[in-house]
């Protein structure tokens, strides 16, 4: 009986001791600002989060660090693998660990909107500054307006939110429409929409049907393939039959590759424009077997001079990562923005830093970043406009803005219609 009690007490003690170690914190080293880079590190989005942040931290530390009052602080990055693409509670726990165990001062990153909402709650609970570099749904920003005192620590640096993404992609569509009118002489181009069958695509499909006629174009129909489709010949042949001169696309997942490949192989006589995330990647030409030329997609970065920072950032990132930067690499800018706000506030206290973040007027690699009243990045001429990039001769070049609102970034070239489109329609 006594032996059993002893054994029990031993077990309980071991159990409690083990538990107490879970929450152990290392003694916080002085003069270090810890920033958590939160993202799905096994996937490209998280990897770009990390690489962009790393670049910024290295540059800042090499230049002496962050000046907080009269002390210099070095930036220490904490990599947080949120695994958010697979599990939301995993992501929230990872961030809570970073905040309460690693004692980070700020969080940059996130990509999946549902997880970003859960992470937002955790960060706001602990009054930790959170700078989103990936999730684009506008609802997160609206919370700042609705409950400022709780959500004021939240900011979005990139991408421009989903409403703006739609607006920008429509501008690209109009850009192509203008070229079609001028070069092919077709005053009312026919537009077919190919929008992947995902939740984000539903409002876009509705918007396309409604808005395209108002652009002086004829809407011939919408096709909704699966986001992971591997064969889109059915959609493409139907579009050819419908006589469309322009295809307006929305692809956020892998279907973007077979779409472009088959579009090029079948030489569908319609210019493709819109959002195709796969077409933003360096490996796109290889993935489409060289057939992806002339694909035209909305993008965040390109080797043009949006600001003096853009080209150096683009080249350095491409060199380090072996890939073009996606919008997730905006953690680079997020960390600089945070640094400047901390230096202006002369303090690391979030309540002092937030008002300074609100005053941000920062020339980033993506454009001039100014936050609106909901702490969301502003879109518009003079701010972050996004870019239209097209594959020409196997190279990704920027073709938009090209005179839009008087803006043309140095390095921008003219948009080119696919030659088979010109051949098909110009005789008319």
């Amino acid at each position: 009986m006594r032996k059993r009690w002893a054994a029990l007490i031993l077990v309980v003690t071991v159990f409690l001791t083990t538990l107490s170690f879970i929450g152990c914190t290392k003694a916080a080293a002085p003069k270090v600002i810890r920033i958590a880079v939160a993202g799905p590190m096994q996937f490209i989005q998280g990897q770009h989060h990390w690489l962009g942040a790393q670049m910024a931290a290295e540059e800042i530390n090499k230049a002496g660090g962050v000046q907080v009052g009269n002390k210099k602080y070095q930036i220490e990055l904490v990599q947080v693998d949120t695994n958010e693409l697979l599990s939301v509670d995993d992501a929230a726990s990872a961030v809570e660990k970073a905040i309460t165990v690693n004692k980070v001062n700020a969080i940059v990153g996130t990509i999946r909107s549902e997880a970003a909402m859960a992470i937002q709650e955790v960060a706001m609970d602990h009054k930790t500054i959170m700078m989103v570099c990936g999730a684009s749904l506008p609802q997160m920003a609206e919370k700042v307006g609705k409950d400022y005192n709780r959500y004021k620590y939240w900011f979005r640096v990139t991408p421009i939110n989903a409403t703006y993404l739609v607006k920008a992609s429509m501008l690209l569509l109009n850009h192509v429409g203008a070229v079609v009118r001028k070069e092919l002489g077709i005053q009312k181009p026919k537009v077919a929409a190919v929008i992947e069958k995902a939740v984000a695509g539903d409002p876009l499909a509705a918007a396309a049907a409604k808005l395209i006629p108002t652009f002086g174009m004829e809407f011939v129909g919408v096709w909704r393939p699966s986001p992971t489709a591997t064969d889109l010949t059915a959609e493409l042949t139907a579009i050819r039959k419908a006589g469309a001169q322009i295809i307006y696309t929305y692809f956020s997942a892998t279907a973007g590759v077979p779409y472009a490949k088959q579009w090029g192989e079948l030489q569908i006589p319609a210019a493709s424009v819109g959002i195709n995330v796969e077409a933003q990647a360096k490996g796109f030409m290889e993935a489409t077997g060289g057939k992806g030329n002339y694909e035209y997609t909305l993008n965040t970065y390109a080797p043009v001079q949006i600001t003096p920072k853009t080209i150096p950032f683009y080249e350095e990132f491409t060199k380090r990562a072996g890939q073009f930067p996606t919008y997730n690499a905006g953690t680079y800018d997020a960390i600089y923005i945070y640094k400047e706000a901390v230096e202006r506030a002369k303090s690391l206290d979030p309540d002092a830093v937030v008002p300074e973040l609100e005053k941000t007027n920062f020339l980033s690699a993506a454009g001039k970043i100014v936050f609106d009243k909901n702490h969301d990045v502003t879109w518009g001429p003079g701010y972050v406009t996004a870019l239209g990039t097209q594959w020409q001769d196997g190279k990704l070049v920027a073709v938009w803005p090209n005179g839009w609102e008087g803006i043309t970034y140095p390095g921008t070239v003219d948009y080119k219609l696919p030659p088979w489109v010109v051949a098909q329609w110009k005789k008319k």
């Binding site: 538990l19 879970i22 697979l86 939301v88 726990s93 549902e114 939740v199 984000a200």
Partner: protein
């Protein structure tokens, strides 16, 4: 009942068995833990463990005991998460109301799932159960104006005013609901469930209304899973399509089989071991899932019936005459006094049957 009798009951039924005593010790440890260690991260991990343990136990009730192998258990979790979330957000009802309401909707879902599944068996039943969360996910996306679509619903009220209170709410519920579930399986209804799993035709021939009891199992399981879903949404303050996801359906299966299927406490033990383990493995982020999977495979290789039965076999033995469990150290049965030999050949395969003695190792 007098205090003396209660004490005698306690010493006579709980303290005599090492397995039960350990459970009691762990429960007490968890109850007093916050007095020593109140780190929010630890409390978060434990609270989620408790919530998911209720979920796993509800799966065990349906699939382990009644043999209706549900591979779409997320339907109950998710429908309750969304119901409690929407009631809280749109109607302003507090969690105390929304969580039971969500659980009741999950009971209704139990009927909706159970009725078509009455005529199905084995793998066909499992496949059918997989369909329901997919259907509901589709509806969630279709009515995204109401459900928030891909983003889900957020800004929900907290489960409790502080992390500590949330911890205790979840702990009390897992202990209480786990106990209730265990008592259900220990009752006449539990016996009928067991009979249906073993041989449904014979059960029917004995006059048991098996469709009724199967539906009852779906509803009960749905209720408990629904409570965990409501707790989850209020703890996370977000309810999204991930609550209806495949991972959510599969996790209780893994935890329960690891811990020991068809025993309720096995599901709870499995969750208590695996969920914090997965969290602990964060120290090796690239290998986390791999290590986790390897551990599970190893454990199931050497403890094929799960962790809990293996452990109980080590510390307790069954009396050959009255079938009551005794501590392994006893020489005579505590109930009928029969002499207890060395432990009999165990199902766990590490023992050699017929040798009558314990093989070292």
């Amino acid at each position: 009942m007098s205090l003396r009798r209660l004490y005698r009951r306690f010493t006579g039924e709980v303290l005599v068995l090492p397995g039960r005593t350990l459970v009691l010790a762990v429960c007490l440890a968890l109850l007093v833990l916050p007095l020593f260690h109140r780190h929010p991260y630890t409390l978060r991990v434990l609270t989620l463990t408790f919530i998911f343990a209720i979920f796993a136990a509800s799966w065990d009730l349906l699939s382990g005991f009644v043999g209706q192998l549900s591979l779409g258990h997320a339907i109950f979790f998710g429908v309750a998460a969304y119901t409690s979330a929407l009631l809280n957000l749109r109607a302003g009802l507090p969690p105390l109301v929304t969580i039971p309401a969500g659980a009741l909707v999950a009971v209704l879902m139990g009927l909706i799932v159970g009725i078509p599944c009455l005529r199905l068996k084995g793998q066909y039943l499992s496949l059918a159960t997989m369909a329901f969360p997919i259907i509901l996910t589709g509806l969630v996306f279709l009515f995204s104006g109401v459900t928030g679509g891909e983003l889900g619903v957020s800004g929900l009220a907290r489960l409790g005013p502080t992390r500590l209170s949330e911890y205790y709410i979840a702990l009390v519920l897992v202990l209480g609901l786990g106990f209730i579930m265990w008592k259900i399986t220990d009752s006449k209804v539990g016996l009928i469930f067991h009979a249906i799993r073993e041989d449904e035709i014979t059960a029917r021939a004995s006059g048991i209304n098996t469709p009724l009891y199967k539906l009852l199992a779906f509803c009960l399981s749905g209720f408990f899973a629904g409570v965990s879903g409501g707790l989850y949404s209020h703890f996370m303050r977000v309810a999204g399509p991930s609550t209806l996801g495949v991972l959510t359906s599969f996790q209780p299966v893994i935890w329960t089989i690891f811990g020991g299927v068809a025993s309720i406490y096995g599901a709870i033990v499995g969750t208590f071991v695996l969920y914090p383990l997965m969290e602990f493995l964060r120290v090796a982020p690239e290998f986390r899932t791999l290590i986790f999977a390897v551990l599970i495979v190893l454990v199931l290789r050497f403890m094929p019936e799960g962790l809990t039965p293996w452990f109980i076999d080590r510390v307790e033995s069954e009396c050959p005459r009255c079938k009551e469990h005794n501590a392994i150290t006893r020489r005579t049965c505590r109930v009928c006094g029969t002499a207890l030999g060395r432990p009999p050949a165990s199902r766990a395969g590490l023992f050699q049957p017929g040798k009558g003695g314990r093989v070292a190792g």
